[in-house]
């Protein structure tokens, strides 16, 4: 059984106007792979609980980035309410499929829609820690530049990291298209809201990627 652990919020920072990165101290955290997630559990005074999944944003330590959804039961609490020193419960790591392992040196294509950047950023950070010369290409689709997460790191990308930005609010009805996606060869990780993942995975097949090498994670929504 993956047991529930107490997690104390030790730091929090604004990641975008609507998202917050939360750094937790979790005693005896067993470690995890880039791409895995945790389940968070909140408990109300009357015993009611709510659980949601959140991706780990870093390869070491327990850091989450949560997009606050209007009226979102759990996300709005994590973004607007939780204060440094507060404790919540979480368990993990979970998921053995949507992971990048540093030992695999195949080139990597990451395709992020909105908050889907979170587990992909963990992979980029794990790649930085691993050294070597595996090339990464990130295609990051989001409404407008101000919404991007991890700006300090992504505005000055590492030499092995290519970034294609797709800003869906700036041109009318701009969506991710075939032209935004490099051709087959790399291992592919796609993450974001369901509609985005469906569209992006379909375009990847159109430009010739092998479906067996495309891994997807759908956040819902």
């Amino acid at each position: 059984m993956i047991r529930w652990r107490r997690a104390r919020l030790t730091a929090a920072r604004e990641e975008s106007p609507t998202a917050r990165t939360l750094v937790f101290e979790v005693p005896d955290w067993p470690g995890h792979l880039a791409g895995q997630h945790v389940d968070v559990r909140l408990t109300a005074p009357d015993g009611y609980t709510a659980q949601r999944s959140y991706s780990l944003a870093t390869p070491e330590g327990v850091e989450l980035t949560v997009e606050g959804l209007p009226d979102g039961e759990v996300s709005s609490y994590l973004v607007d309410e939780l204060t440094v020193g507060d404790e919540i419960e979480l368990r993990g790591p979970v998921g053995g499929w949507f992971v990048w392992r540093p030992a695999v040196t195949t080139p990597v294509l990451l395709v992020a829609g909105g908050s889907g950047i979170v587990p992909l950023m963990a992979m980029i950070r794990a790649r930085r820690l691993a050294g070597g010369d595996t090339p990464f290409h990130l295609v990051y689709s989001l409404r407008e530049p101000a919404r991007r997460y991890y700006a300090a790191e992504l505005d000055a990308p590492d030499p092995w990291l290519t970034i294609t930005w797709v800003h869906t609010r700036l041109a009318p009805h701009r969506r991710i298209t075939k032209d935004d996606l490099p051709g087959p060869g790399p291992d592919v990780f796609v993450c974001g809201p369901t509609g985005f993942v469906e569209a992006a995975a379909d375009l990847l097949l159109d430009v010739g990627h092998d479906s067996a090498r495309i891994r997807t994670e759908r956040f819902g929504g």
Partner: protein, 199 residues
């Protein structure tokens, strides 16, 4: 009970005991799959049951459509925490497909177009508990939800309800499927919250 989260009240709830532990109700239909949605042509579609003795029973799309159809209504529960109440399906009960299948096997490994697999005890597929469905909510089942046809086993977490289903292999020994090999629970009963290995 867990530690209380300061200031958390949660949403008003009115599920009348229909929500398994840790689940929340949605009204849309989210999607969970490990890769892209496979492209399958109906006229090349087939469904097969392979027994432990090496016999194969096959159905083409037309043959499946010609079998008695049922219209189950069920609550479905996804391991990613959402539940959807009163979903309506149309398809063929596995009891019908198993009518002429002779087997003493205890385990089933369901496999799909696109390579997905999931395992469950054979008894969880029989006695009105599972269907091969090709319509959802009165419409043809969309590819992203598993069309042309998917398995529907509503009493287990929904990853057991394999999308794009292609066949079932009957086995004397249990063989873990895709998510079952990636840290998820082997059986997956939502009422016992069997999400992950060891739960």
């Amino acid at each position: 009970m867990g530690i209380i989260s300061r200031g958390f009240r949660g949403r008003p709830r009115d599920d009348h005991g229909r929500l398994p532990p840790g689940q929340y109700q949605v009204h849309d239909f989210p999607v969970l799959s490990a890769g892209p949605t496979p492209r399958i042509e109906q006229d090349r579609w087939e469904f097969a049951i392979d027994t432990e003795a090496g016999q194969t029973h096959r159905w083409s799309w037309q043959e499946l459509m010609a079998l008695p159809q049922e219209s189950p209504t069920a609550d479905i529960h996804c391991v990613t925490k959402w539940s959807k109440f009163d979903t309506t399906w149309q398809g063929v009960s596995l009891d019908v497909l198993f009518e002429d299948v002779e087997t003493a096997a205890e385990y089933a490994l369901v496999h799909s177009y696109g390579g997905y697999t999931t395992n469950l005890p054979l008894e969880d597929l029989l006695d009105g508990k599972a269907w091969i469905c090709h319509r959802f909510d009165g419409e043809e089942l969309e590819p992203q939800h598993g069309g042309p046809a998917r398995l529907v086993v509503p009493h287990l977490y929904f990853w057991k309800s394999a999308k794009w289903v292609r066949g079932i292999r009957l086995l004397n020994e249990d063989w873990p499927g895709f998510w079952e090999s990636a840290g998820y629970h082997n059986y997956g009963d939502p009422w016992r919250e069997q999400r992950y290995e060891g739960d």
